[in-house]
Assembly symmetry: C2
């Protein structure tokens, strides 16, 4: 590391640990200890090294450190999309729990596309994260195999799969659908509809919803598959003409549907009841206030983070959900 020239502050290349060591007159390993295990270094030495780091503007190279120690202090996070408040809360929970511990978060989006999911999974694992947290379960067998072979903690969230790869922090989507259908039936609704995506979690909600509706002796409910953004909700209103109750798989979509319904002149909840999922903050503030199945995305994230840090305790956490009936149903 440049033995000829004397080490000096403010060179062009970022200084290495060895340069800091030379500047402070200690061995490289001592500098390494000052960074990672300061208690092992005598106070005067430590101060000398710290002064050297400051003078040279030393920023440790964690890439090299990770390779040497086989610990990257990073976790991979795979979500369908970040532009959905529902997952943003989960990311926030993960990040808040992990950043203070020195872990970095690698973020990737699958866009609800199994191929892209596998690609992103491979890309994340290539960075050797110490754990991986994902929304849902791998869509393909290849993805599941990669995760299993990685031999790191894997947390599946926003669902409660029967055969998880490792750990789970989520809730029972089937039950959520069932609870909403039961509520609709109990409040005298007869013609039910379900609006949502066709990913596995939305499908499970639909299955629970449909089962209970049929068990209650109602007509077969209608399932409408749409994009997940609020604009799509507006458009979907048209397809809901004959119905008197709709369960919408996410709150943003539900707010859109409310808007569409309003423009069609249908009164909520008198003509149609609407229940969303996620408990978006704005849902509770609009008029009429949106009824919803409350899911605590941030707690899911924090719990998932906890499951990656410690392998003790139960590996399957059901965080549950809560039906909040406000004004729309």
């Amino acid at each position: 590391m440049d033995e000829s020239a004397p080490p000096s502050p403010e060179t062009d290349e970022p200084p290495t640990l060895a340069q800091v060591a030379a500047y402070a007159g200690v061995s490289p390993i001592t500098v390494s200890r000052v960074v990672r295990l300061p208690a092992l270094v005598a106070v005067p030495t430590r101060q000398r090294v710290e002064a050297a780091m400051l003078a040279l503007g030393y920023v440790p190279n964690l890439v090299a450190g990770s390779l040497a120690s086989a610990r990257t202090r990073s976790v991979g996070v795979l979500v369908p999309t970040v532009a959905n408040a529902i997952f943003a809360d989960t990311i926030q929970g993960i990040s808040d729990a992990l950043e203070p511990l020195g872990y970095a978060v690698f973020l990737a989006q699958s866009r609800y596309d199994p191929d892209r999911e596998d690609k992103m999974l491979a890309a994340l694992l290539a960075r050797r994260p110490e754990a991986l947290i994902m929304v849902g379960s791998p869509a393909t067998a290849a993805g599941a195999r990669m995760l299993r072979r990685a031999r790191i903690p894997v947390v599946e969230t926003w669902d409660l799969p029967d055969d998880p790869i490792d750990a789970v922090a989520g809730f029972d989507n089937t039950k959520a659908g069932a609870v909403v259908a039961r509520h609709f039936a109990a409040s005298g609704r007869r013609l039910l509809g379900f609006l949502g995506g066709d990913d596995p979690r939305a499908t499970r909600r639909w299955l629970g919803f449909q089962r209970v509706a049929l068990e209650a002796g109602l007509d077969a409910p209608l399932r409408v598959v749409h994009a997940r953004n609020a604009g799509a909700g507006v458009a979907a209103a048209d397809g809901m003409r004959g119905l008197d109750a709709v369960f919408v798989a996410n709150d943003a979509l539900a707010i859109g549907l409310l808007s569409g319904l309003r423009h069609m002149g249908r009164r909520v909840p008198d003509d149609v009841a609407v229940i969303g999922l996620g408990d978006l903050e704005t849902g509770r503030l609009i008029n009429p206030a949106l009824s919803t199945v409350r899911i605590d995305g941030e707690t899911i994230g924090r719990t998932a983070a906890g499951l990656t840090i410690s392998r003790d305790g139960p590996r399957r956490v059901d965080l549950g959900f809560e039906l909040l009936t406000r004004e729309t149903g």
Copy 2:
């Protein structure tokens, strides 16, 4: 790399490139080429190596690759919080632009805290990202110095600082505030208020807002500083009693304010006009539809990503904004 035992599929440790090479009967460098520069390898050799990778379940170790090549193929992204739709869109834009190119995204949150921002900046830079994108500018001189010394592309977003570290993709916050005040004045409002955080960008909006209000001969406008979530907006309504027009620094907060105003019996826009910022999708769907200053967070993200990839072209991109007057003002 375990020369004694014959290389075999499905061992417990993840296989290394050298093991794949031994299995395929080629040298390590050839396997490396199959992964990175397949065109350089003859087809039969390539197929043999690919078969070996598949058989052993090889996942390249990018940590080692990064150290050897001094290219991490990652970018750091620092936002105040991900749980704000406004920044989630930007992250989405960044991620959508960069992931197809093989870049990974390191995400960190500053929580609007300068100390935490510096910590996160240091943590990100320690991972040796090839570029760094942040919302706003570094809050401290130390943070700015770290970024400058890192000698990587740095993109500041959501603002247009006069002395950027490197590149900028944002809009003029001062002007945004000014435009809203001008609109309020032109539509006959007299008692203006500003509701928002006290971060530099919100403050710039306030400054532009205040200046124009005073220039228009209106009373000195009121500034109310609050938390940034929608719930805080509800609470803020009380402090807005005397006003007939409020500019709210973000749409979620504005929706909260609308709710608070409604509960106080104040009519919008007859008694009070409200204009938000961000153009949250739900803002346009609620009743009355929220007027807002539209900012395209996703385009900011994509543009910022573009500025990290290429150093050519202008390093300062003003993406502008648009005042959308809907029903609340």
